[in-house]
Structures are given as C-alpha cells and as structure tokens.
Subunit: 310 residues, 2 copies
Amino acid sequence: MKSDTVFKRAFNDALDVVAALGVGESLPSESVMSARLGVSRTTVRKVLARLAAGGIVAGSGRHKVVRAVPDVPRFPKAETVPMAAQVEARFMEWMLRDDARPGTVINELELARQFGVATTGIREFLNRFQRFGLIEKRPNAGWVFKGFTPAFALELFEIREMFELRSARTFAAAPGGSPFWSQLEAMRTEHVALLAEVDRRYHDFSDLDSRFHRLINSAAPNRFIDSFYDIITLIFHYHYQWNKRDERQRNETAIREHLTYIDALLGRNASIVELACRAHLASARETLIRSTQEGAEGRPPRGRGRAGSA
Amino acid sequence: MKSDTVFKRAFNDALDVVAALGVGESLPSESVMSARLGVSRTTVRKVLARLAAGGIVAGSGRHKVVRAVPDVPRFPKAETVPMAAQVEARFMEWMLRDDARPGTVINELELARQFGVATTGIREFLNRFQRFGLIEKRPNAGWVFKGFTPAFALELFEIREMFELRSARTFAAAPGGSPFWSQLEAMRTEHVALLAEVDRRYHDFSDLDSRFHRLINSAAPNRFIDSFYDIITLIFHYHYQWNKRDERQRNETAIREHLTYIDALLGRNASIVELACRAHLASARETLIRSTQEGAEGRPPRGRGRAGSA
DNA sequence: TGGTCTTTTTTAATCGATAAAAAACAGTTT
DNA sequence: AAACTGTTTTTTATCGATTAAAAAAGACCA
C-alpha cells in the first residue's frame, strides 16, 4: 500500500496556513491551496475534509471559514518523509557511521528487514544509488560496497575541481547586468551573517555550501554537472551531520574560504578566482580524505563482512 | 519467475566447447567449465545434465566423455539475452527511432504492456536510466522524456571534451615502458585493418570506438569518468545502429581521426595530442547534433504526446 | 588437494492487491 | 466565461508472497 506521507505533510502545512489566517477568515480556493502546499487538489480536499472533521474549518463549497485555532496534534515528522528518503538516510548512516568496510556484500533481504521496508524499496534505492560510485552491481550476485575510501575522495575531487573551475570561469565572465551578481551579493551577506554567529549556527553551513556551489554552476547549466552535484550534496550533507570532529572550526574555515572566493568572483579577475577556488577545494578535499581515513583506522581489522552482520 | 537466459546462453556456449573437443575426449572439470562459460558451477551442472540427457556426453563423477557431435537444436538468440537488456534495447528504439518528442510523459504500465514485461522491470530500468540525463522523475507523477535534443548533445560533449583531454594528457605522459603503449599500438593495427575493409566492416567501428576511448581513460582511472563513458557508449551504440545516413562515410572519417589521434599520442607531443583530440570530438559532436536535429525535423509538429500513443 | 555431490542463500522476475495521489472530466456559481 | 467545486478515471507507490534460477557454502570423496 502506498504511504500517505504526502497527505500528512500537507496536513501539517495546512495547519500553519490556517493558523496564519486566523478565526473567521475564509479559506483560499482549492486550487490556490494546491499550489501553496505543493500537492494535487485531490490531496487538498482530503486535508480539508480532515480539518472539517476536526472542527477547524466549517462550511462547504466555495464558502469555507476558519472555525478555530488548530489544536489537533500534528503528524510526527517521521511519518511525513517518503519511504525512499528514509531508506537513503538509513543507508547513509549504515555506510558513514557504522562499520561498513570496503568489499562488504550488501544483502537486499537483510537490509529490507533492518530498515523495515520491502525488498523492492531497497532494490530501487540501490539502483539509483549506483551512480554515486560507492556500490557496484555484479550480475546475478548482488551488490558490493566499494568503500568510502581516500580513493573515492580523490576521484570525487578530481572531477569536482574540473567542473567548479569551469563554472567559476563562466560565472566571472557573466555580463555586468546579469542577475547572478545580485544573487552572489545576497549569498555573500548570508555568509557574513553566518560567520558572525558561527558558534551557534555552524550546522547551517552544509545547506549554504550546497546552494553556493549550485549558484556558481547555474551560470552555465549542464545536466551532467548538476547531476554530479547531487553526489557532492548528498555526501557532504551526511558527512557534516555525522563527522563531529572539529566541526565548528572546519565550518568557520570553509565560510572564510567561500568569502575569499566570492570576493574574487565579484572582482572578476580570472586568475584570482582560480586561486581562491582551488584553495577552497583543496581544503575541502583534505577534510574529506582525513575523514575517510579516520573511519578506517577506528575499526578493528576484519575479514569481508556482510551488511548488517554487526 | 526468473528467466533462465543465463542457462540457455551457457548451454549454447557449451555445445561449442564440446564440439571443439571432439568425440571420445574427456570433459574438463566442472570448475574449469564454470570459469570458461562465465557462470556458476550450479549452472554448469545443469548444462551438463542436459547434455547427458541429449546423449552428447556420458559418464559421471570425474569421468565424463564426449559421446557424440552435438546436433541438438540451440536456444534461439532472443532467449539468451536477459530481460533488462531487452527493455533497454526496446526503450532506446522507442526513443531514437520512433517519434519520442521532448515533454512526452512516460507511462510505466503502458510501456510494460508494450514491451511485454512487468512494471517492476520498467521501473528498474527507468531508475537506472535516469542518470543518462534523458528522462526526469517528478515525484508521484511519473517520468518525463526530456528529449534527444541538440542541447543534450552539446552538454554531453562539453563534459566529454573535459574528460577526454584530461585523459589524453595523462596517457601521453605515461612512462615509456608502460603497457599502455603496446595496447595503443595494437589498437592502431585494428584501426588500420578496419580502414582497409571499411566498405564491408564499417559496422564494427562502434565497438572499436568505445574500446579506444576506454583505453585512453584507463591511463588514469576515475570511477566517475568511467561511469560517464557508459552514457557515451550507450548513446553511440544505438545511434550507430539506427542512424544510417552517410554511415560508411561517417565511420571512415572517424577512423581516420582516430588514427591521427593515436599517432599524436605515440608521438607524445602534448599540444599535437590536444589538437587531434579536439578535432575528433568536434567532428563527433557535429554528427550527433545533426542527427538530433534531423529527428526533430522529420516529425510533424504535435502537442505533448504520451509514450506509446502512436 | 582438487574435485564432485548436496544444501542453503540470494537474486531476478512476476503477480496481484490496495491505498494514495494526480489528472481529467463534468458540472455550478458568480 | 472564468473560476470554482464535485466526481470519476488513471497512474504511481508500496507491500507481500511466490517461483525458478544462480550463486555460494558445506560435506564428502578419491
């Protein structure tokens, strides 16, 4: 049976919309709600029906009004994320946090049981995840985890450097009136703000980092580069989440490097841009490599393990 | 039920092995056969059992001999290709040959019926095929075909040029004693041989092309580049198969470009290598772009179609 | 030790069911 | 007629169970 995470998330969001309107106000039309919540009208109607049942809205047809400030319980957050996202998170956790060592054979059935989903879900995830270069399929013999190793980090950054330099050059050559410049200025402001509060907000950097690099790329869109950035984003997202060593310091350094990089772009000097870009990537690469090594050291040497055997 | 294409192919291959041995000879051990046929011992035993039933081999245990020259019918070729490969071929055909236009919505159920496979097979293929940048998933709303367009060709070749130049440089810098040089020489010989018989054998170029570029890449392996070459190989494989315009001429040109490129590499002059490499890629890009345009022109303008509606 | 016979695991593929969500269609109201 | 809502049809997502094929592991033997 299909999960109703879409409905649940839409319901939670709808509570916010209703609360923002206030008692007595009339609700926007179903199609407007549909656009606002990012779901189909069918789902909007289901949400509306539930709200009516809870006494939060009243009326029917085109005359619906807010009856009461919502005080019904929201759906727990875990129920609002789609199955595929959960599988992804659990897998990344298994890979980056637990002792997943190179050569480990991935057993679909075992993972399915462990994650509490059907094998089809696992298969689908593995098929999509294949392109990230961390697992490999051997026909008729399942999947092998290739390892989150220094080699992986090196290969990743070799490509990343090629792509980023190419995009940075194009970006720096954008015409003066281009909207990119104002977006970059806004990005700069965000960086400065984050730096000022880095002690408290350093967790927010992962997201800013991803948005920044995607902005650079958007100067000359290329679907293959975009798709490659999905890998970077995913790896860094989970890596930032779990590698706690020197976390604040690492992020502060990266923010400063970004600022240098941004200023170089704003200065539009190709060679300075290249320097700043290379410097940042080199430092990011070091961080990632170190973390792949740490992971390997911390674990006792063992034979070829099996997924989920620990 | 799982298809037994592996068994059928192994059986056909085994007939060759047995025929090569001749009547009266004793068979190699099961593990040797397993390695020779590229399947597990379990499957070898099944093949052996079938051969015994057909009176082709006799004996048991470690004493098995060829009884008769095989004259049993082979399994038809269509039954020896796995389902996934069939889906791929049919989909590529639909995309490149039929009227698949940008924006077409892909309907899983319809494709499944059309191809005669279960929806799960289609889903799995689409998930894997996603990374090729030709289709896109919209959550809860299926897949959209983005189109085999000039933009696709341009983006593809932008990346290809970056990767190929990088690999060619590394290759040219390989030490004198490296095995790459002899492999390249062998490759050169193959090219010369193909050129001599180009009128008859121009179909063989597609495969040679793929092997040549992969050899260049192998000088400095990078999993992301390898994976990108899967895209190139797939596109070109089917493209060569179906775009018949000027086929012989196109291939002859490409072979000559390859030879120039190979000689440049053998000469180890970085700037000449770069020139030859760029020239070849530019010409390959033109061919692909032209073919994406032709496709579009040949079709009558229509609204947003649906997969399989024609 | 290198082989074969036997058993256990795991994958590949299908089928059917069901609820969710989207999309299309058909009316209504202003 | 444009903007809605009510209703119906399609399509997707997910599960679970099933089956045969293949692979892998284990037991045994010359």
